[in-house]
């Protein structure tokens, strides 16, 4: 027996629909709440403090003269850093940006310093 195109199409569609059910209203509600909470946490204390603390530790550790902290942003005088130093600063920035927003990530990250 060979599958006709339309019956094959129908079979694939049915199998996919059955195996990819729409989420229930409750699951959607929970997911919505989780999403909005996660987004809100981007603006509130833990992240701001975490970044600030990491930045301070960084500054104290190595780049005392050229890197400083301003409103949780790290600023540096680009011209005064050589390529090696600049690469380090960029790596550091990327690591901070890659952090997710739970405090535990901050704790894990801060342990490196």
């Amino acid at each position: 027996m060979n599958w006709r195109n339309d019956s094959l199409d129908q079979l694939i569609t049915q199998a996919l629909r059955q195996n990819a059910p729409a989420p229930s209203a409750a699951a959607r509600g929970q997911a919505r709440l989780r999403l909005l909470n996660a987004c809100q946490s981007m603006y509130v204390e833990p992240v701001r403090v975490s970044r600030l603390q990491i930045a301070k530790r960084w500054m104290q550790a190595q780049w005392r003269e050229w890197v400083w902290v301003d409103n949780s942003e790290v600023r540096y005088e680009r011209a005064r850093l050589n390529r090696y130093q600049l690469a380090h600063v960029h790596t550091y920035e990327r690591r901070i940006m890659a952090l997710t927003f739970e405090p535990m990530h901050f704790n894990a990250f801060s342990a490196i310093w």
Binding site: I12, R32, R34, L35
Partner: protein, 195 residues
């Protein structure tokens, strides 16, 4: 929440740029189901699909400034979903499956979810397995085409590749599925199903 229903995506994204999280909620209400279903169809894992869908909407929030509001949002969301699913699938492949993993999976709530307890017919199980075994690129095209009802042009836009490539992936995927089902029939494994 209801007030967002008739607003276009572009306006919601503009509001999101102004830190109006309810606008993100509006986009979520509009697109979550499609994103979730695409993710679960690709990964065949409900927990992974939830995580992927959440991350997709987090990216809408994170990259709201960069999203081109002159274009519809859904293709952008599908693209993010496909990329996140790809990352998940490749990580799963690399991961060594331990006995503990299997036990965890068997007793996890997602495994016991009502949708997973539905008795699937043998034929549908075969189709699902065959889709799961397709190369990732073909699987994505199948899901977007058959589940999400995207046409070839739309899929090409989502995957950022030529329409011809989409057409050929779909063709090879269908041939593979047809062969797998033919084989199952030929070996008699599906005979009861079709009797």
């Amino acid at each position: 929440m209801d007030s967002f229903e008739n607003l276009p995506d572009a306006l919601l994204i503009e509001r999101l740029r102004a830190d109006d999280l309810e606008a993100l909620g509006g986009l979520f209400d509009r697109y979550y189901t499609q994103v979730y279903r695409a993710a679960i169809a690709i990964t065949q894992d409900s927990q992974a699909a939830e995580d992927i869908a959440q991350e997709a909407f987090l990216r809408v929030h994170r990259y709201a400034e960069r999203i081109d509001t002159s274009l519809p949002l859904m293709p952008w969301l599908y693209r993010v979903t496909v990329n996140l699913s790809y990352t998940w699938v490749t990580r799963q492949k690399k991961r060594r499956v331990s006995l503990e993993d299997i036990v965890d999976r068997l007793i996890s709530p997602s495994w016991l979810a009502p949708e997973n307890l539905i008795e699937h017919t043998e034929l549908q199980r075969r189709v699902r397995e065959a889709i799961r075994d397709l190369p990732f690129n073909q699987r994505v095209v199948v899901v977007l085409h058959y589940l999400n009802g995207q046409n070839l042009d739309e899929i090409a836009q989502i995957l950022d590749c030529p329409v011809g490539t989409v057409k050929s992936r779909l063709h090879y995927a269908r041939e593979t599925l047809r062969r797998r089902l033919d084989f199952a029939l030929w070996t008699g494994e599906l005979v009861h199903e079709l009797a």
